[in-house]
């Protein structure tokens, strides 16, 4: 059979059977090669969509991985609980001639009571029980690794954003002016509010078929994003139509 011979044939096709039944009935010799070419092409197309599917799957997986890694991080930091990350804190109010005091100790949860934590005991003998009754002991955990990592992540994202902001607002206009001269800069501001009825269709169709290389794609995506933000800025800050 023709289909078995083709290596690029997609593996799981439901109604393939029907096509297979049909095609021999109209197969003079000429349509053989035609059919082969068709199948090659279809195979290619199938590969392309397979890739698209795989990519999507990969993005999905990576997202779940991200989420999982966050969880793992938390769990790990819980496991690697260094001695600084647990404490038993006892607050003891003034008693007789002893002033109030706060005791802090790294101790496991089951030992978190006044007798284990208050050391040295300021009172003697029968007073210990009365003293300890007033103390309030609380066991607390934290994860200093989580805190550290979170703050570092946050600050690095903030730093990157600030750098990019400085680049966009200060450096890029200067570069552009030096490269293209002054006139183009002004022009590019005007063609944003393009409300031609067919402009959108152009956009939609162009997006679907652009087969440019990666660099162009990035450039294009950035340009599109900039236009979007500009449009947003107009509607929020200038025209006040949303979010006021």
């Amino acid at each position: 059979m023709l289909f078995v011979a083709d290596p690029a044939r997609p593996v799981t096709r439901g109604p393939r059977r029907k096509c297979g039944r049909r095609s021999p009935s109209r197969s003079p010799a000429g349509s053989w090669s035609r059919g082969l070419r068709l199948w090659r092409l279809l195979g290619l197309a199938a590969m392309a969509t397979l890739w698209a599917g795989l990519l999507r799957l990969a993005s999905m997986l990576s997202l779940s991985c991200l989420a999982l890694s966050v969880l793992l991080l938390v769990q790990l930091s819980d496991a690697a609980k260094n001695s600084e990350d647990v404490r038993c804190k006892c607050i003891c109010p003034p008693y007789k001639d002893n002033s109030g005091h706060i005791y802090n100790k790294n101790i496991s949860q089951k030992d978190c009571d006044c007798l284990h934590v208050v050391d040295p005991m300021p009172v003697r003998g029968p007073d210990v029980e009365a003293y300890c009754l007033r103390c309030e002991c609380k066991y607390e955990e934290r994860s200093s690794v989580t805190i550290k990592v979170t703050i570092i992540i946050y600050l690095s994202i903030l730093g990157l954003l600030l750098l990019y902001m400085v680049y966009l607002t200060l450096v890029e206009p200067i570069l552009k002016r030096r490269l293209f001269g002054h006139s183009q800069l002004i022009q590019s501001d005007d063609d944003v509010g393009d409300h031609q009825p067919f402009a959108n269709a152009h956009d939609v169709l162009a997006r679907s078929r652009s087969r440019a290389n990666v660099l162009n794609k990035v450039e294009y995506a950035q340009q599109r994003w900039k236009l979007q933000v500009q449009e947003q800025r107009k509607s929020v800050f200038d025209r006040h139509v949303v979010l006021s």
């Binding site: 997609p10 799981t12 109604p15 393939r16 096509c19 049909r22 095609s23 035609r34 199948w39 092409l41 279809l42 290619l44 197309a45 199938a46 969509t49 599917g53 799957l57 779940s64 989420a67 966050v70 969880l71 938390v74 404490r87 607050i91 109010p93 003034p94 002033s99 109030g100 005091h101 706060i102 802090n104 309030e136 607390e140 955990e141 994860s143 989580t146 805190i147 979170t150 570092i152 992540i153 946050y154 903030l158 954003l161 600030l162 009825p197 067919f198 959108n200 269709a201 939609v204 169709l205 679907s208 933000v229 800025r233 509607s235 929020v236 800050f237 006040h240 949303v242 979010l243 006021s244």
Partner: protein, 821 residues
């Protein structure tokens, strides 16, 4: 994954997803067979260059170049796979719930039928069914983690205004002193590891100069944070400003704001929210967290075919995401689900309820495992007390409810007036300056008062706290005159000096918060409303609570007290009053009732306080409703003119559909397309001369009998697509919406068949239908437009915008304030 084993061509087209239109399963199986009967097509196809062909090309090369293939309509339906872009919506448009839901049903039916055919299809159908829950899991994980990030960073940055930790720069004040052994009983929040700015700069902590240095640094940091926040918002994502709940409400009701729930909005909102909260402004993170969670939901929707392409299904996910957002904001999973149901959602089927529940659960669990506050709680102001309350105390609780209602009405009125001023006058031109000025005023006024200097969440947590013997705050500075032998239960005590001075400071804080919040909410930075409202209520409640406590202590022989509050008994808990006051104020502003009580009850974990909370929430809603009709979110929706059809209000006017429909009596006739006599040029002229977003299609202009409805966007995209890719379509080509196009005479341009974009089942009413029914249809079905007929002839059209305008007109409001449709 959209693998659909449909036909050999399926390989090329399956990434387009399901088939639009009305063909169903048994047709699809027959169309598979039809496909192979077109030898010329296959040839045509294979001779193209080696890029994988787009479905549009397949379609055209077939239906227009090849002759004599228009015989089977079912096949045509199949071949005319959607052109990219058809079936999507423009920015600032309203979706058609009916259309989206029927598309989803078609898709689902198809997958179910396919699942019997092969194992792969079965796996596909199972994964499709499961994807909703997987999505919820991911949303919960992501929004929980982001909430943790926001909590930890905001806490740290707030403390950065006062000083820095030498132990490690990433520790906030509390964690800096966490393990210190130098903390004394008297000065519990001081430790040598934590250095205030005066200590670092002039190496002393005492004296007037040190105070001035600290003051200066506090204001400086606040200004810096606010400036960074507003400029990041302005440069990267203007949609990240505000609370976001009014917009999310509108989006969930079917409006489209492109980019509002996008990646950049998510990132900028997360980052700037921390900055805004830490700058000490009178705002909270709860509302924006709902927006953040919804962004997570929307972004994660892109991973799943089922949700990526269907706007109605996506809105179900967003409802659940909103629940997850509140769940992490308050640590109240059930409250979050109810909040989504009561306040934000428009369409909330039972399935969404369960999914919201799951998402809220996962989100709360994630946040709990991050443990952002180090106290194993999800919120800073979690309290736990179980002292009973007496029936008489309902009187002060209701008083607090009245206060909350008054505050809510006052806040809504003044804030809307201020926002309107910002919208219409020169003020709106200077968003950065406005933020900086408000921040400067807030910081300068806040620093001298220790209750305004701390973050609002900490203030609330202190106000909610029930004073024990060991508490060192000024609010707990009571005189301990009782017999010390009995530990445990603490009776009412006379207030000490500290309490009296705290009362004064709290009163000043109350005034500051009330005034400054009005000007803060609505600025161009992420700003939530829950925390400031709760703070106002908590302060008022605490003041009243302490007053009641002292009254009961000094006058326990009064008739109202002597039955239940004898001397030496613990009868009044000021913390409870603070909590009830917070609930009342929040209820007055947002007009929530059920979800509010559940959130508050989850915050406290005490079942016995449900009745006080309910009484206060209900009273505050009554009072606020009597003074002003709508809650803050609805007021902002109306201010912005979003097309939001309120489901809660009744329409009670005796108007008819013909009073509302367009065209009006003296207007030109309704713009229609005919099904088989217009050329491409005619249609293009109509498109460029009008701005309508859809056109009815009729049999002929004379008969005006309705065929269907076609959307402007679909029409534009299809014509453009045909002109580009299809040979021979020129301006004089005739457009057919009919099932069969007549045979083309030789030497005339080929026809353009557009039946696949025609909605064959548009909703119609007769011209004498009462408007209450029409409004109900729009509300319950989520329609976008409805055609009006008279004796079967098309007469006019009613859009959602017309309905909204009519409602506004009937309520004596300016109907032109509704901007979009």
């Amino acid at each position: 994954m959209s693998r659909q084993p449909v036909a050999p061509e399926g390989g090329a087209m399956d990434h387009r997803g399901f088939h639009q239109g009305s063909f169903n399963s048994f047709q699809s199986s027959s169309s598979d067979e039809d496909l192979m009967d077109i030898p010329g097509t296959a040839m045509d196809f294979s001779m193209r260059d080696d890029v994988p062909p787009l479905d549009g090309e397949i379609e055209e090369s077939r239906s227009y170049n090849g002759g004599g293939i228009g015989s089977s309509n079912r096949m045509m339906d199949f071949l005319e796979e959607p052109i990219p872009g058809v079936g999507t919506y423009d920015d600032f448009n309203t979706i058609d719930w009916v259309r989206e839901k029927s598309r989803d049903r078609d898709r689902h039916r198809e997958i179910t039928n396919k699942s019997k055919e092969s194992t792969w299809a079965l796996i596909h159908s199972v994964s499709d069914a499961f994807s909703g829950w997987l999505l919820m899991l991911l949303i919960g994980l992501l929004s929980g983690s982001l909430a943790g990030l926001i909590d930890i960073s905001a806490h740290w940055m707030t403390d950065l205004k006062e000083g820095i930790c030498t132990l490690g720069i990433w520790f906030n004040h509390e964690h800096c002193c966490w393990n210190s052994n130098h903390v004394t009983f008297e000065n519990r929040d001081k430790c040598p590891e934590w250095n205030s700015w005066s200590q670092l700069i002039i190496s002393t902590n005492e004296g007037a100069f040190a105070y001035i240095v600290n003051y200066f640094m506090y204001v400086l940091w606040a200004l810096l944070f606010a400036f960074l926040a507003v400029s990041l918002v302005k440069v990267f994502a203007p949609y990240a400003c505000g609370s976001g709940i009014p917009e999310i409400k509108t989006i969930l009701s079917g409006f489209i704001i492109r980019g509002y729930l996008g990646k950049w909005t998510l990132m900028i909102k997360t980052i700037t929210l921390v900055l805004a909260v830490s700058s000490g402004l009178s705002l909270g993170k709860e509302g924006p967290l709902v927006h953040v969670a919804c962004c997570c939901g929307n972004i994660l929707c892109h991973c799943f075919n089922k949700y990526r392409k269907n706007e109605a299904k996506r809105r179900e996910v967003l409802s659940a995401a909103a629940a997850a957002g509140v769940s992490v904001a308050f640590g109240a999973p059930i409250g979050g689900v109810l909040f989504s149901l009561e306040e934000v959602s428009y369409y909330f089927p039972l399935k969404t309820l369960w999914r919201s529940f799951f998402a809220a659960l996962v989100a709360a669990f994630t946040l709990r495992s991050i443990n952002p506050f180090g106290n194993s709680r999800l919120v800073l102001f979690y309290v736990e007390f179980h002292t009973p309350w007496h029936l008489f105390e309902l009187v002060p609780f209701i008083l607090l409810g009245i206060f909350g209602g008054l505050w809510g009405a006052l806040f809504i009125r003044t804030n809307i007036a201020w926002c309107r001023k910002r919208k219409t006058t020169q003020l709106g031109k200077y968003p950065v300056v406005e933020v900086l000025v408000v921040t400067a005023i807030t910081a300068i006024l806040a620093f001298p008062n220790e209750y305004t200097r701390v973050s609002t969440s900490e203030l609330i947590s202190e106000l909610f706290n029930d004073c024990g013997l060991l508490d060192s705050s000024k609010l707990c500075d009571y005189e301990n005159r009782f017999n010390t032998s009995k530990a445990g239960e603490l009776p009412d005590r006379p207030a000490g000096v500290g309490v009296y001075s705290a009362m004064w400071q709290l009163a000043l804080t109350l005034i500051l918060k009330i005034v400054i919040t009005i000007f803060t909410f609505g600025m161009k930075i992420p700003s939530g409303l829950f925390i400031p409202s709760m703070a106002v209520g908590a302060i008022a409640g605490r003041l009243l609570g302490v007053g009641m406590e002292q009254l009961a202590y000094y006058h326990h022989d009064w008739a109202i007290f002597n039955s239940w509050c004898s001397q030496g008994a613990d009868c009044i808990t000021p913390g409870l009053y603070a909590m009830v006051g917070a609930a009342a104020c929040l209820g007055g502003v947002t007009r929530m009732t059920v979800s509010l009580v559940v959130i508050m009850f989850e915050l406290t974990g005490g079942l016995e306080y449900i009745v006080p909370l309910m009484a206060a929430a209900m009273t505050s809603k009554w009072v606020a409703d009597a003074l002003g009709r709508e809650g803050i979110y609805d007021a902002h929706i109306r201010l912005n003119g979003y097309p939001f059809l309120e489901a809660k209000e009744e329409f009670a006017h005796k108007t008819l559909a013909m009073d509302v429909m367009k065209p009006r009596r003296n207007d030109p006739l309704l713009t229609v397309l005919t099904q088989d006599s217009m050329t491409v040029e005619d249609v293009e002229t109509i498109i460029s001369e009008t701005t309508y977003s859809g056109f009815p299609v009729v049999v002929s202009r004379e008969s005006q009998r309705l065929v269907g409805f076609v959307l402007r966007r679909d029409l534009i995209i299809s014509i453009e697509n045909a002109r580009k890719k299809q040979d021979g379509v020129v301006s004089t080509s005739v457009i057919y919406f009919t099932e069969h196009s007549p045979p083309v005479p030789p030497y005339t341009p080929p026809t353009l068949k557009l039946r696949n974009i025609l909605d064959l089942s548009p909703f119609t009413v007769t011209d004498l239908t009462p408007m209450e029914i029409v409004v109900d249809i729009f509300r319950k079905l989520g329609l976008r437009q409805c055609l009006v007929t008279h004796n079967g002839r098309l007469l006019g059209i009613i859009t959602k915008k017309d309905v909204l305008k009519h409602i506004a007109q009937m309520a004596n409001q300016d109907p032109d304030s509704i901007l979009f449709n």
